[in-house]
């Protein structure tokens, strides 16, 4: 993993001092509310319904055990003993005191963590595949490129006041585990016919009020020109993106308005003035950054272990967890382990300080001291030897971190909703709990198979509801919470936007509607057919009919 050098550390330390000064000037009345708003947002600080909320960056979702322990400490000392992982793979603290935020940032900086650009109209944390560097199918490791983007985008002087926020995702596999097609820019690391690395570049994807799948702007961008090309895209966006209406300010609206061909022409013309210039990344730098992500000292004989098979044979619960929550690894004898942050009772993505410490210990003992956060709001231990899986599972189970529901109905992506967020129109956490209780039976969940359920408490779509196989959107109707259901969405390589099932349902009817929906699926599915595939084959109609059959 990338380790800061003196320069990287200096930037973060200086940013802490700068933010401390900004906070002091604001508290002293020397900085207006409006000016401080823009400055604090660029440093991840919101003022929310209950209290300020601080969002800490986990660059491309990779952190060390040491960093996670400091996050645990921060949550204990400055917050209420827990944190919340987000779809940008960052972590949020919901109860810090405004005047203590500089101290929190100073503590974070001791372990190379910060909150730079986790909010505001600037380039946000770059995300990637949570199996980056370990998945058997990947072209090459995307993380060195994420790190290069991180440095280029950090305090970029030209792009701190963009029309709106800007999100980049990088993938390197045929499978898309980073929702790259619904990002402002999606980058797919590929090789051309000559074996050279480069990127297929998508632009103008996004969710929110106007969900759009990204469009291809370039088939193959030579990898060393990544930053010159991004700079060209960002400059055109900064110059031409709409600023009169914040709901029409994302790059997707610009691309739709002028068309992908015209947008591509402008970017290309501008890029001609930048390519082969200083922004071209020298091979020496690519090698330097890549070296930080070179493989771990794996055990040669890991695959020779016989104990895993014995445990799988003898322990049904372990077998269920293994099948659901562990994943293939390119190194023989190793698996990736998803730590489910989706317990029966508890907000999706939340983690207590004790759990953070437990995960940090496990990473240290069994996974080269590294942890990944996923955009699906779970954690991953990327490199666990098969002989250690049973122990890891036992410890995770003790701490309510081993619910075998990864990829199933209750592995929901859920924004914090009205309980915390001042933008939200409706609550989400109560609905998540209702769904958890209704579908508590894990055998039934396993029978239903792979289902991605995403829920947002407002149209801003932080919970990615448009791209859930089942999407739930909270809306406010005359002061009451109602929920609009969509089906057929996907954020994967087969990205699609969900279609509205019908009229919104009341808070009490959400899970009963889902029950009818899923019973219909069970009736109609072909052998082995996933929910999403049944919806794609048959369309919305049969589901709509069933969902509203009793209610109407």
């Amino acid at each position: 993993m990338y380790i800061y050098n003196e320069v990287d550390q200096r930037l973060v330390d200086e940013r802490v001092a700068q933010f401390r000064d900004q906070t002091q000037r604001f508290l002293a009345g020397d900085l207006s509310e409006d000016e401080f708003l823009a400055l604090r947002l660029m440093n991840g600080l919101y003022i929310q319904r209950q209290a300020p909320m601080l969002r800490v960056a986990i660059p491309y979702g990779l952190m060390t055990a040491e960093q996670l322990r400091v996050l645990a400490q921060v949550s204990r000392e400055f917050d209420r003993g827990y944190g919340h992982f987000t779809t940008r793979t960052n972590i949020q603290f919901n109860w810090p005191k405004l005047e203590e935020v500089p101290d929190i940032l100073e503590r974070l900086a001791t372990v190379q963590l910060h909150a730079i650009q986790t909010s505001g109209n600037c380039i946000r944390n770059t995300t990637t595949d949570h199996f980056a560097g370990i998945h058997p199918s990947e072209t090459d490791d995307p993380r060195p490129w994420c790190e290069l983007i991180r440095q280029w985008s950090t305090l970029h002087p030209e792009f701190a006041y963009l029309p709106r926020k800007f999100k980049i995702a990088v993938t390197a596999s045929p499978e898309d585990r980073a929702a790259s097609q619904v990002h402002d820019v999606g980058l797919h690391l590929i090789r051309n016919d000559s074996g050279e690395l480069g990127f297929e570049v998508l632009v103008g994807g996004g969710l929110g009020r106007t969900p759009i799948i990204g469009k291809k702007i370039r088939d193959f961008l030579p990898a060393p020109e990544l930053l010159s090309y991004l700079e060209a895209i960002l400059r055109i966006y900064n110059l031409k993106g709409r600023r009169d209406n914040k709901y029409k300010a994302r790059i997707k609206i610009l691309v739709e308005a002028i068309g992908i061909e015209a947008f591509a022409e402008q970017v290309e013309a501008h890029w001609q003035t930048l390519k082969d210039g200083p922004l071209r990344i020298p091979q020496s730098e690519i090698d330097r950054v890549s070296a930080f992500f070179s493989g771990h000292p794996y055990r040669d004989n890991a695959a020779g272990d016989l104990t895993l098979d014995e445990k799988l044979e003898s322990d049904t619960d372990f077998r269920t967890w293994y099948a659901r929550n562990t994943h293939p690894h390119k190194q023989p004898g190793y698996r990736a382990v998803t730590i489910s942050l989706k317990p029966l009772l508890g907000a999706p993505g939340d983690i207590t300080a004790l759990q953070m410490d437990v995960v940090a210990d496990l990473a240290e003992r069994f996974s080269f001291s590294q942890i990944r956060s996923t955009h699906e709001q779970n954690l991953v231990l990327g490199d666990v030897a098969q002989e250690d899986l049973y122990t890891v599972w036992q410890i995770l189970s003790e701490h309510n971190l081993a619910r075998p529901n990864v990829g199933l109905l209750t592995d929901m992506i859920v924004c914090p909703g009205f309980d915390f967020c001042s933008l939200a129109n409706a609550k989400t956490l109560n609905i998540a709990e209702q769904i958890n209780r209704t579908f508590e039976d894990l055998d039934y969940q396993h029978d239903l198979g792979e289902i991605r359920l995403n829920m947002s408490g407002c149209i801003n779509a932080c919970g990615h509801h448009h791209v859930g196989h089942i999407g739930i959107l909270g809306v406010d109707k005359k002061g009451e919470d109602w929920y609009q259901i969509t089906i057929g969405g996907s954020s994967r390589e087969d990205a699609s936007l969900g279609k509205v099932l019908g009229r919104a349902v009341s808070a009490l009817e959400v899970s009963s509607t889902l029950e009818r929906l899923l019973e219909t699926y069970v009736d109609l599915r072909l052998e082995g057919e996933r929910f999403i595939d049944t919806v794609r084959r048959l369309g919305v109609a049969p589901f709509k009919e069933a969902a509203y059959a009793i209610a109407s």
């Binding site: 930037l11 700068q18 280029w152 305090l155 600023r243």
Partner: protein
């Protein structure tokens, strides 16, 4: 209205008469020849502005509201095209934008009187690291000598 030029409070008149670039484009060639300073905003065409840069000693770029960052890209494009005259930030400028303004090629900034204090000049030195190539640093971090171990 204090005017900062190259990080110093300038004795120059802050309100130098500047012709709106739109008006300049309407003028005949003879009238254009006498204009040495213009004022442009994000609504003007950057392409057209670039065609005329040799004509000007001063280009004032307007920040109409706090959150409008188009002028940052204008300034970088002007410097990128070789403009050597003064680029002045006018409108909704602020202490906390000073460093980014300079990095993008602004060498002069008009600041609101009521807001300005001499210690605001510290804004220029708060962050010393330059990851990006920009107007103040032609090389990105990975090409800067001594920056990388």
């Amino acid at each position: 209205m204090p005017l900062l030029v190259n990080r110093e409070v300038s004795s120059e008149l802050a309100q130098l008469p500047t012709t709106p670039f739109g008006d300049y484009l309407e003028m005949d060639a003879q009238a254009q020849a006498s204009v040495r300073a213009i004022r442009a905003s994000g609504e003007d065409s950057l392409e057209q502005l670039l065609e005329h840069i040799n004509q000007f000693d001063l280009i004032a770029l307007e920040f109409p509201v706090l959150r409008d960052g188009r002028a940052f890209s204008f300034a970088r494009a002007l410097r990128g095209a070789g403009f050597k005259g003064q680029i002045r930030a006018v409108g909704e400028t602020s202490r906390d934008k000073l460093s980014f303004l300079e990095r993008c090629g602004f060498d002069a900034v008009e600041l609101d009187d009521s807001q300005f204090k001499r210690e605001h000049l510290e804004a220029y030195t708060e962050i010393s690291v330059r990851y990006q190539a920009a107007a103040d640093q032609p090389l990105p971090i990975y090409r800067q000598t001594g920056a990388i171990q």
